[in-house]
């Protein structure tokens, strides 16, 4: 099946990966897991500082679903359990090295009913999400369908083919086989033209043609089989399918990953092979442009990533690091009146829109926060049957009835990212949707 989406946003940012980039290895010694990367997961720490762990050993479990675990991506010693205010767990750092603990072996259970716990205890369930609420799935739920996205249209995002050195077609096939056992409906794989794994069996292949957010699984679900109240669907990316397949085939967790280091402030964009949760500094070492400007190092893409310092660690989904200027060190005189072709905008009032050039935006909001004034602006970036302005207003007024009727169960914060980028009123749409989903879950549970 083919689906063409007209609405969306295509940005041309400087610092994209060269064609045929091949990964080089990074020397990382310390790795970390941030429980905040996994919405809905209430962390209970299972390890102490100095304790030895293996790759796949649980370091945290979910207070509400003890089966759901976050595991160490490497073997070594727990270096630190970093806590913030009111002892909230910020991250657990593991230093790679010798470990006396034997790696746990996860064997795929014979009975179908136990597969979800199998995924949960191996730490791979945490890499998946569920709709509604966009949270880590609850292994007790009945799953209507499973949706996999196998392409990424976010700015400067790498293709999933970079994982070909880690996961084989057999791994992906094993992953799909396992997923199709746990859902009542189908496993859907959304890809774009030129996808290298169309011969995989047991999944419905859907070809998408469209700009961001077409690669968001939420948009894909809305165009394939929308989520209704009461439905639970699980979502994941194609790399996680490979990880699951590898676990099924070898019994061991493989947390190797390939990270694209990209962005306007990167001298030579490149792929780096490392392990999930690596410290950022070794990955970007020697790749930054020499500049005395303040930089913003983003784990992920410019729409949904998390900004952190270089001595922090890469966040979920561990596939991309984007570096841009922070922009808090420039005085721009009357920027709102500028006709500079360097200004990036979706508005035709900026000449840059008419040149095919690469932009180097910084992290400034470029204006002040206002009430929603311009109408119909969000619709241009929402290729789904949702009225974004009205859903946002229903969330802001905490009107649960309207939220449900306007389709809050179908959306995740990332689906609003393109609209948030383009918004004249500079409203924090993703945060509003996140808070809305969290409140709704609290009210209804």
């Amino acid at each position: 099946m083919k689906i063409k989406l007209k609405k969306g946003l295509r940005l041309s940012l400087a610092g994209s990966l060269p064609a045929n980039a091949t990964p080089t290895a990074a020397e990382s010694r310390v790795f970390a897991i941030y429980p905040d990367d996994f919405p809905g997961f209430v962390p209970k720490v299972d390890v102490k500082e100095g304790e030895e762990v293996a790759c796949g050993s649980a370091v945290m479990h979910d207070k509400n679903h003890p089966d759901v675990r976050l595991v160490s991506p490497v073997a070594g010693k727990v270096k630190a359990v970093v806590r913030g205010e009111r002892r909230k767990v910020i991250r657990i750092e593991v230093e790679a090295g010798e470990s006396g603990v034997e790696s746990p072996v996860f064997k795929k259970p014979a009975e179908v009913g136990a597969i979800k716990e199998f995924l949960a205890s191996s730490g791979l369930l945490a890499l998946m999400r569920q709709r509604p609420y966009d949270i880590v799935p609850n292994p007790a739920d009945k799953v209507r369908d499973i949706f996999v996205t196998a392409f990424d249209e976010a700015p400067l995002a790498p293709d999933y083919s970079v994982f070909s050195g880690i996961f084989s077609a057999d791994d992906y096939q094993a992953g799909i086989n396992l997923l199709s056992e746990i859902c009542e409906g189908k496993v859907y794989i959304s890809h774009k033209a030129g996808f290298g794994y169309t011969s995989l069996r047991g999944a419905e292949m859907i070809e998408f043609d469209g700009a961001y957010p077409a690669s968001n699984v939420g948009v894909q679900i809305a165009n394939i089989r929308p989520v209704d109240k009461g439905d639970v669907v699980w979502t994941l990316d194609f790399a996680t399918v490979g990880r699951i397949g590898k676990l099924v085939r070898t019994g061991v967790c493989d947390f190797r990953t390939v990270v694209a280091v990209v962005g306007p402030e990167i001298e030579k964009p490149a792929l780096v092979s490392t392990v999930c949760g690596s410290m950022i500094a070794p990955i970007i070492n020697g790749k930054l442009k020499s500049t005395n400007r303040n930089l913003r190092i983003i784990s992920g893409n410019v729409f949904t990533g998390i900004a952190d310092s270089a001595d922090a660690f890469i966040h979920y989904p561990y596939r991309q690091i984007t570096v841009i200027d922070e922009g808090d060190d420039v005085d721009e005189f009357m920027g709102w009146a500028s006709f500079s072709p360097k200004k990036m905008s979706e508005s035709s009032s900026f000449p840059g829109r008419f040149f095919s050039r690469l932009f180097s935006p910084d992290a400034r909001i470029n204006g002040g926060r206002r009430a929603m004034i311009v109408s119909g602006q969000y619709d241009k970036f929402m290729p789904m049957d949702i009225l974004p302005e009205y859903l946002i207003k229903a969330i802001l007024s905490n009107n649960i009835d309207d939220m449900e009727k306007l389709g809050i169960y179908e959306v995740a914060p990332e689906d609003f990212a393109a609209a948030e980028y383009a918004d004249t009123s500079k409203l924090p749409l993703q945060k509003i949707v996140r808070d809305g989903l969290d409140n709704l879950r609290k009210e209804l549970e």
Binding site: G230, D331, W336, S338, S349, N366, R370, S375, S425, K431
Partner: protein
């Protein structure tokens, strides 16, 4: 440039909490964000890291730029009508422009001083940033009134509209009615003698002593004002010199009328600017025109001497009075218009149709565009409500179909 920046940084503490001039914090904030792009950067997580360069300041200024052709033409036309009334046969361009400029300048100044003053005060009280909405309203108001509207009336009307049509609802982005039109409606109903009739639409004074004051009681009605005196079936409008006003004259706009709304040509230029910049909704503009043409055509079919305006050809209806101006600059105000795509078509069509209905069948009001827009402003939320309900129904029906299957 850095000198200015340093100066702003130096005086900033005075305006902060506890500073000597803290009562003017909103004024300082307004100036600072006007001169320098704020350095606020995106949140580190849960938000996009880059933002589009467009902001509310640029959006509003583009609307002001789109109004400039009409404004410049209004200056010329005010002078032109004045010269005509004085019986002149030569029309020196710059003198006409200067006369028009000097006539309108005090009105623009009063509108901005009163309106922005109120805006700054409310921003200060609510501890918010100053909003840009009044930049547009401030120039719109003098453009939709007779050029010589008394300043004190203008001040009272602007104050009333900004406070009661906007600030009480929560400020820019929350108002139900178009603020500029509320100003005009206030003037229209409170001081009808200065807002209608055949004596107000030609400037007769000598602003700041420039030009020649005409004798009191000079009269020439606008084309729409002349309708009541006609009986059809052929309608003829005359200008100051008794010349016949053709469709072409009405299109170019050298006719008596409110300051900025006579020239359909200049309004078209403004429309092109707004549409090219993607600020006004083409759906609304198009459907207002469609509604106007439709209703004008219906009126033509059932034309009767009882309502002489029903003889006016549909195309002329669009060119006369404030219709085109309302379609491009008033109906498209995104805050007070319908916000859903389908809603915009309905909203626009009804504005066009109702404007012509009021013009034609209510002989008390020669012009209906203002009332039509204000009326539909009130109904826009209802139209949107129906469109939103349809979206909700699709979802509930899907759910019902599913549960009935099981």
């Amino acid at each position: 440039m850095s000198k200015l920046r340093n100066y702003l940084d130096k005086i900033k503490p005075n305006f902060e909490e506890g500073g000597k001039l803290q009562a003017f914090r909103s004024v300082y904030d307004g100036m600072e964000t006007f001169l320098y792009t704020p350095k606020t950067t995106s949140a580190p997580s849960g938000a996009v890291h880059i933002h589009d360069s467009i902001d509310s300041k640029r959006t509003m200024i583009i609307v002001v730029c789109a109004l400039l052709p009409c404004f410049l033409f209004g200056m010329y036309n005010t002078g032109y009508q004045h010269w005509l009334a004085a019986g002149a046969t030569e029309f020196p361009f710059w003198e006409l422009m200067i006369y028009g400029f000097l006539t309108i300048l005090p009105r623009v100044a009063v509108a901005y001083i009163v309106g922005l003053g109120i805006e700054f005060t409310f921003a200060q009280i609510k501890k918010e940033e100053i909003q840009e909405g009044f930049l547009v309203t401030g120039i719109l108001v003098p453009m939709i009134c007779p050029a010589e509207i008394p300043l004190w009336m203008l001040a009272v009307a602007v104050a009333f509209a900004v406070i009661f049509a906007k600030e009480v609802f929560g400020g820019t982005g929350y108002n139900v009615l178009n603020v500029a039109l509320v100003t005009r409606a206030f003037l229209f109903f409170a001081y009808p003698a200065q807002m209608s009739g055949d004596k107000v639409y030609v400037a007769t004074n000598a602003p700041f002593g420039y030009g020649e004051a005409l004798a009191d009681g000079f009269s020439c009605a606008t084309p729409l004002g002349q309708i009541a005196t006609q009986s059809g079936p052929s309608i003829e409008f005359t200008g100051i010199g008794g010349n016949i006003i053709s469709t072409w004259d009405a299109f170019i706009g050298l006719i008596p009328g409110s300051f900025g709304e006579t020239s359909t040509l200049c309004i078209l230029i403004g429309a092109i600017i707004l549409l090219a910049a993607g600020i006004a909704s083409w759906r609304i503009i198009l459907s207002v025109i469609a509604g106007g043409l439709f209703m004008g055509w219906i009126a033509n079919i059932f034309a009767t001497p009882l309502y002489p305006a029903s003889y006016v050809p549909a195309v002329d209806q669009l060119l006369l009075g404030g219709f085109a101006f309302a379609a491009v600059f008033m109906a498209t105000d995104p805050v007070t218009a319908a916000r859903t795509t389908t809603g915009k078509y309905i909203y626009g069509f009804l504005i066009g149709a109702i404007a012509i209905v009021i013009r034609t069948y209510n002989t008390g009001y020669p012009e209906g565009a203002m009332l039509a827009v204000l009326l539909m402003n009130c109904f826009a939320p209802l139209i949107d409500y129906c469109v939103v309900q349809a979206n909700m129904r699709r979802r509930t029906n899907r759910l019902k179909a599913k549960t009935s299957q099981q």
